[in-house]
């Protein structure tokens, strides 16, 4: 994704993603931030790509790897790392579920990046949009769920819930629900 692509997106936009994306979750984020591997040591070009918070089920077949199920995992667990991953590796999109916190929201705004929300649990539905496993990194060391998978996707559906303008659907809903919550439990 280019900077223009990022800036054209706003909270609430429903998108369909095509091309190469990478996966990464807890262990990979911790590794990228603590070990700081240089871009040369990572076999894929992360510049401008989408980092998908996902620990897929992958089957090894005679033809290579096949994605069985690949829904998003909860993004908030990597909140403490994401800001540095965005600025260090130049990713332009983060995808997962549940949204992220103020640190990431700030990074999205400053670095020009966007957060996509995939439908949590829709793992087979989303796996059908993966055309090919184009590569994997850290498979032996981190295992299937925590490795970085390079996936070619087609018509992969997601909704923009945090944009590069500082808007967050999660924050809006949190605020509205807090008001209702206080009313319901008699706190004012």
């Amino acid at each position: 994704m280019s900077k223009d692509d990022v800036l054209s997106l706003h909270v609430g936009d429903m998108v369909s993603i095509n091309g190469l994306i990478v996966t990464g979750r807890d262990k990979l984020h911790k590794y990228l931030v603590n070990e700081k591997p240089s871009k040369k040591r990572i076999p894929f070009n992360l510049e401008g790509t989408i980092l998908y918070h996902c620990g897929p089920i992958v089957k090894k077949t005679p033809k290579g790897f096949e994605i069985v199920a690949c829904g998003p995992t909860t993004s908030m667990r990597v909140e403490m790392y994401e800001e540095r991953v965005i600025s260090q590796y130049g990713i332009k999109g983060v995808m997962g579920k549940g949204g992220m916190g103020p640190q990431t929201r700030k990074a999205l705004q400053e670095k020009g990046c966007v957060y996509f929300h995939a439908v949590g649990g829709a793992a087979v539905y989303l796996a059908q949009r993966v055309k090919r496993v184009a590569g994997v990194w850290k498979f032996e060391e981190f295992g299937m769920a925590e490795a970085m998978w390079l996936l070619e996707v087609e018509d992969f559906p997601a909704i923009v819930t945090m944009d590069a303008y500082g808007n967050s659907l999660h924050e809006e809903i949190e605020k509205q629900s807090l008001k209702e919550f206080k009313k319901l439990i008699g706190l004012t």
Binding site: I57, V68, G99, G120, G121, V124, A127
Partner: protein
Amino acid sequence: MAKLRNAIVELYRLAATSLPADIEAALRGALKKEKRGSAAGTALSAILENIKLARETLRPVCQDTGVPIFFVKMPCGFSQLEIENEIIRATRIATKNIPLRANAVDVLTDKNSGDNTGVGFPVIYFEETKDKKLAIDLMLKGSGSENIGQLYKLPLQELKAERDLEGMRKCILDAVHKAQGKGCPPYIIGVGIGATKDQVTKVSKEQLMRDLNDMNANATLAKLEKRILDDVNRLGIGPIGFGGKTTALAVKIGACHRHPASYFVDVSINCWASRRAVITFKIKNIE
């Protein structure tokens, strides 16, 4: 016991790939309440399509096939150890054949065992019953929703929650409000009240095994379950947290006697992909 082992493998397959009818029907009901083309409506349509695809292709509904939790109800005279061994053997086979995602991570070495077995993994509860049958309930508990569960100790000043059922109600609303959309709503909410921490966490899990349409045998709790569900759905978090009418499909409460000094409330939350299944054997068919 090979027959039992194979049956447990099939129990895994059923739980992982086919959502119970009551859950699916409730999700269909939720879709009708959302506006067509809204984020919530679109998400629920994808969820229902996913349930259908998983069942047709025998693939796991969600890539997080979770922590397997077994509730074994057995007649007098059965060996827990033998049943436990068969569950562990079946877990290894199911992980490879279905396949399930290997989720058991050694806390000391941080290595994944690769077959969903390890210390205390799967989780197995045994209970002896008067029934002349062996019943094995399995839940594949996704950890996105497990992480948003909360244990409360009443009273709790910050919620103005006293040591009564009204205080418990406030805890449930607090847990869901804090969870927002992080655990894949619409949620199923299980609650346990009682004297000790370990006791209430088990009771709250047991509630998640109940059919959504059952009625609590206790009239007070039945009424509360309905009222709190309505309250939760007023929070507006909605399907997948996109905002909307259905934040939860059910609230189920179990209560034990408590100690005069203690009032523990545990809130266990399950995602919409509530994967539970059961097999039963007549005694003569087991050996």
